[in-house]
Symmetry: D2
């Protein structure tokens, strides 16, 4: 890390509420962290998710995939490396690698797919140009 | 149980995702269960929460209180006894008693306060008459 | 539906707490529902997840995949069709199809992979024979 | 703010997953934020919650109370002012005031009660001396 093309990183700490009776973070928490990383990415490179929403668009999640590579415990500090790409019409995709800096291990990876839709009708709408342009710019920028 | 005036009961099972690393249900899960019980109550006595929303109203939560009286574990079946009352203008209140039928213990109780507001402006709006009337009717009905 | 080999179905209702500001169920909620369906499946065919835990085992989630095929709203009743298979040593896999009976649409599908581990060391342990045997039995039983 | 005796503040941003179909943060999210603030407080003044757990203790939550004073939206930055006190045997209490720095409004307040218990038996155990001593020290320190 920084892995090739991962231009952005977001940190989270595992909340106690995110653990389960196995003593580790619950599998659904990773999707929430991925979202936190996406929001942070969009804030840095594209004026923020709220800018998308102000245009009357929503970015729906159409697919999620997580590989859990190591157990994560309460209060662990995690670094989420994120990149966005694969833009096609209304669709785009984020990739994630989750690292625990304390021991340098990769504890998860995955990807999510999204589609921009009209917030009222939920019908697909082509990604706004400014967002479509912001994403390759982000990919080319030096890692944070 | 049935406790005086508790005219309705809803059952939930503790989900694994609702437990935490203490091996018991997380304290925030109780507020979600209280909500499940409220929704169920409104469905039975007042045409459902969606009917409130279709009128352009929202029922905001203005106060919550939970007493945790016993630990609750994964897969425990819980019975939530609920009653509604104390209507004043835009305000109303729900009371809850949570019982674990397997051993008959009361494992929590509490109450939540709510206000009906205009869904757009979020300004208080007097409780619709049909809802204000449904609630005493519910309180007088035999326990479910 | 019932789809070939989906021997079990579990119902959930979308909780208000599971919706987000897009007005639809949040993407992470699906992983919680998949877990509810797994727990229900294991209860029916294999003595329950608690039986696994009593043996000093845990079933870790090693991979999750969800495709979101249609928006799901508050109070929607969902039927989760689930099957288990692909047993190899310590590993097994669940497949899911989520249907909304009210309109017969498939609103999601996906799969999750799991590994049985020692609850203390978190090292992989071959699936107990009774569980390995329960699963093909389930697959052969008529749909519920 | 800083309010009298509130010696510590923690910041959170409202996650999209924490919003609901009312377009505002769900009432149960506040209990999770209160916990984040407690964990942060204990880390600063008392060696951290994990130190309590390493002693074979757990701090159970015995009561929670939240007043919701204003709607909170996705991506809002919140400052949680927290203080701890009212130590009696195994029991202690946290108070919270939640402020939105962007407009200086107080958007919630509340308190939670806790009891230290033996992690295995869940029986009450007097608060360890180092923790009982750390808390008044914290209360006397200048606000962060």
């Amino acid at each position: 890390m920084p892995e090739l093309g991962f231009s952005h990183a977001t940190e989270v700490r595992v909340r106690f509420a995110e653990t389960d009776a196995q003593g580790i973070a619950h599998n659904a928490a990773y999707l929430v962290w991925y979202e936190v990383a996406r929001v942070d990415y969009l804030a840095r490179f594209a004026g923020g998710y709220n800018r998308i929403r102000e245009l009357g668009l929503e970015a729906l999640t159409t697919e999620t995939h997580v590989r859990y590579l190591g157990a994560v415990r309460f209060d662990d500090r995690l670094r989420l490396h994120v990149r966005c790409g694969d833009l096609r019409g209304a669709r785009f995709r984020f990739d994630y690698v989750v690292e625990r800096p304390a021991d340098g291990t990769t504890i998860a990876d995955g990807w999510t797919s999204h589609a921009t839709v009209d917030a009222t009708t939920l019908r697909p709408i082509r990604l706004p140009a400014w967002l479509a342009e912001a994403i390759p710019r982000a990919a080319a920028s030096p890692p944070s």
